[in-house]
């Protein structure tokens, strides 16, 4: 054998499909960034109890609809100080308007006492991954260094119940970021199964499945959601609600995937290497498992990644429309429901912050999908 001069080292030659894909993906800067962003989002959602200063039950009427808490860096003399906040107080003010006396409640900062921002402070107790703890990433302590729940720090402001929007975003992420995955998993199974059957057997079976897909994809999705969610009995617990939404979403999601699988199946079946395996006496089942499925798995992953943003938006819009999650449960869609009317947006623009999270997540998935698509076929 002759020596071959190439730029690539032995590891390139020994690299399998997934390694090659990973190598190519690493070159896609935007995809790499997106992967990092998504990792952060998922980690914070998983450990929301830790990262969020408050639990979902901790609301305060005083802080209703308040703007993001102002953080001070300088003390009264203008010297740099440890960052601190003031707690809020309610003041009743008499005012004479047009000769009538009216009472107005004004919420102002109570500058009598400083509350310092501290890290790893004790707060409400929680349990995550089997670990019981009451430590939160950040919180407030008073001048004596003790935890004081009278003051609150709401970095993204508070909603109409006086809950910290930042905490709710993190908890909402748990729902909004996982529903698409669960529904994608169900779509994945349904898509591969029905698409595979369709592509492998062909003929009558193929015809029937293709018609079903056509009918399903011809139904406008919002009315379908409405119909399906009307079928969910009212008053069921939040956890089951979650499950139902997932199933609803996946029943719509599988059709596109099934088509991709079927197409790939048919085109791969014609590859010479499949025929070679057949001639060598390899059984049909082995051919499917060893040659066909690995052949389109990378495409499926790309397809899924690009499909997840759709599911995220689906969950958000369903919840927004009141068809999905409902308060007191928390998801990004539920949070955005507060921005239903213009007045509320005009008065409390910080309530739009959850929207930014939706946008960032969707963009990140799209960029990642783009990168994966470029990397998906390392042999071409």
């Amino acid at each position: 054998m002759f020596k071959k001069k190439t730029m690539q080292d032995e590891s390139y030659y020994l690299a399998g499909q997934w390694q090659l894909m990973w190598r190519k993906l690493k070159k896609h800067k935007l995809a790499k960034l997106s992967l990092a962003v998504l990792a952060i989002l998922y980690i914070t959602a998983l450990f929301a109890d830790f990262f969020a200063p408050y639990g979902l039950e901790q609301f305060s009427a005083l802080y209703k609809n308040t703007a993001p808490t102002k953080v001070y860096w300088q003390d009264e003399e203008g010297k740099l100080s440890r960052p601190y906040v003031y707690k809020l107080k309610k003041e009743n003010k008499m005012e004479k308007v047009d000769g009538k006396i009216s009472m107005q409640t004004i919420i102002t900062e109570d500058t009598s006492e400083k509350y310092y921002i501290a890290f790893f402070v004790e707060g409400i107790e929680y349990k995550v991954l089997g670990i019981k703890s009451n430590i939160h990433l950040y919180g407030l302590v008073n001048e004596a260094g003790e935890v004081d729940q009278k003051a609150r720090i709401n970095i993204f402001g508070a909603d109409s119940t006086g809950m910290d929007i930042f905490s709710r975003i993190l908890f909402g992420g748990r729902v909004s970021l996982t529903i698409p995955f669960v529904s994608a998993a169900i779509s994945f199974v349904l898509g591969i199964l029905l698409g595979g059957i369709s592509g492998y057997f062909g003929g009558m079976v193929d015809n029937v499945i293709q018609r079903i897909i056509e009918v399903l994809s011809a139904i406008p999705s919002i009315p379908l959601w409405m119909a399906l969610s009307a079928a969910i009995p009212p008053g069921i617990p939040v956890a089951s609600m979650y499950l139902y939404i997932t199933i609803i979403l996946s029943f719509i999601g599988w059709t596109g995937l099934a088509r991709v699988v079927r197409g790939k199946f048919i085109s791969l079946r014609k590859e010479d290497y499949v025929m070679a395996a057949k001639l060598a006496g390899v059984s049909d089942f082995k051919i499917i498992v060893k040659h066909l499925v690995p052949g389109f798995l990378s495409y499926l992953i790309v397809n899924l990644t690009l499909g997840i943003p759709g599911s995220i938006l689906g969950e958000t819009s369903m919840s927004y429309l009141g068809l999905g999650m409902k308060a007191p449960a928390t998801s990004w869609g539920v949070l955005l429901k507060e921005t239903e009317n213009l007045e509320s947006v005009a008065q409390c623009p910080w309530k739009l912050i959850p929207l930014a999270f939706v946008v960032i997540t969707v963009l990140a998935f799209n960029f990642l999908g783009d990168g994966l698509r470029d990397a998906a076929d390392p042999y071409k």
């Binding site: 030659y13 020994l14 010479d272 290497y273 025929m275 070679a276 395996a277 060598a280 006496g281």
Partner: protein
């Protein structure tokens, strides 16, 4: 069994494809027989059915009718078209195939070792792993692959080396017949020569029988003992190579030979032009399929289908084969 005995006999094979209401008779009443250790070249232009014929013989397609009699190594005569699955599985491995495209014929997701091993795994599931790998190593070395590179994936290899991998995969089951479907057409000239030499050496060593399907007449002339010419699904001429190239008896063969580009500017052969274009295979002409383009065509050719007649070992399907004096290659002139 000794070299030179009949190993394969194809009798009136038909293969029809139906799609969207159109029937294409891709292989139409083809008969020929092959002796052990021979190389049979099958030539013809695209759409003539030569690839389909090859695939029917390796049983990638189930022919519509006809028979393929294979004389197995144990002396059993089997009609490949009418045997049960068990017997089929036992003998299928004796007829293997080498593909045209060295890129699409290897699964990019398997290492070369796995690719060559796959046929062994499928046919000898009980073979110990060590023996399997030893056989793979042996065969890989035989076809000129560096055995230290077997853990690599196909993308690490060039076209010529990939073709060697494909050959190794076909050989690992110790086949007796190999169908080479345009096995060197996709390769560069210098690599083509390497692979042709390899095929030649392997034939010497293992006594292989080749069915060499190609559109490249120069290569076929070099490698084959006998050549079959196909036109629109029919075998129009089948004869020993020298005989066919020097004294073609079918007008189509005559035209085909005159069109071969010879890599020597000193030799300028006058082309015998074909009239018109290849007819639609779904709707072939009546009588002799070639009559619409034949310059020797008579009324009879339009009506009667000519049979493949044996003329001293030279088989030809032409009504006027006896009377026509057709031009072939002048070997003396070529050697000047």
């Amino acid at each position: 069994m000794s070299k030179g005995d009949k190993i394969l006999d194809v009798r009136s094979m038909h293969m029809k494809f139906h799609s969207k209401g159109v029937t294409v008779h891709a292989v139409n009443d083809v008969s020929f027989s092959v002796n052990e250790g021979e190389t049979i070249g099958i030539v013809g232009e695209s759409g003539c059915g030569k690839t389909t014929l090859g695939r029917c013989i390796v049983r990638a397609y189930q022919p519509t009718s006809g028979s393929v009699t294979y004389v197995a190594s144990d002396g059993n005569e089997l009609d490949f078209l009418n045997i049960d699955k068990e017997t089929m599985k036992k003998y299928r491995k004796e007829i293997q195939m080498i593909f045209q495209d060295p890129y699409s014929s290897l699964d990019p997701r398997m290492t070369v070792l796995d690719i060559i091993k796959e046929p062994l795994k499928a046919n000898f599931p009980k073979m110990p792993k060590a023996e399997m790998e030893k056989r793979v190593m042996d065969i890989a070395a035989k076809v000129g692959l560096n055995t230290t590179y077997l853990k690599r994936y196909p993308h690490a290899f060039s076209g010529g080396q990939r073709q060697r991998i494909g050959i190794a995969r076909a050989l690992v089951l110790n086949p007796r017949i190999i169908v080479c479907d345009e096995a060197v057409s996709a390769l560069d000239v210098s690599i083509q020569a390497q692979v042709i030499n390899l095929l030649h050496d392997l034939q010497q060593e293992f006594g292989l029988t080749y069915l060499f399907i190609s559109h490249d007449l120069s290569v076929v002339e070099y490698i084959s003992d006998k050549v079959g010419v196909m036109y629109l699904g029919r075998m129009v001429e089948y004869a020993p190579t020298k005989e066919l190239f020097q004294h073609p008896m079918h007008p189509y063969t005559e035209s085909l030979l005159s069109a071969v580009p010879v890599a020597d500017p000193a030799i300028q052969i006058e082309r015998i032009p074909l009239e018109g274009e290849i007819p639609n295979p779904a709707n072939p002409p009546s009588g002799c399929h070639f009559h619409t383009r034949c310059r020797y065509c008579q009324q009879r050719c339009k009506e009667e289908v000519p049979e493949l007649k044996d003329m001293n070992g030279h088989l030809v399907a032409c009504h006027r084969a006896e009377e026509l004096q057709l031009r072939g290659f002048n070997y003396d002139e070529m050697n000047h």
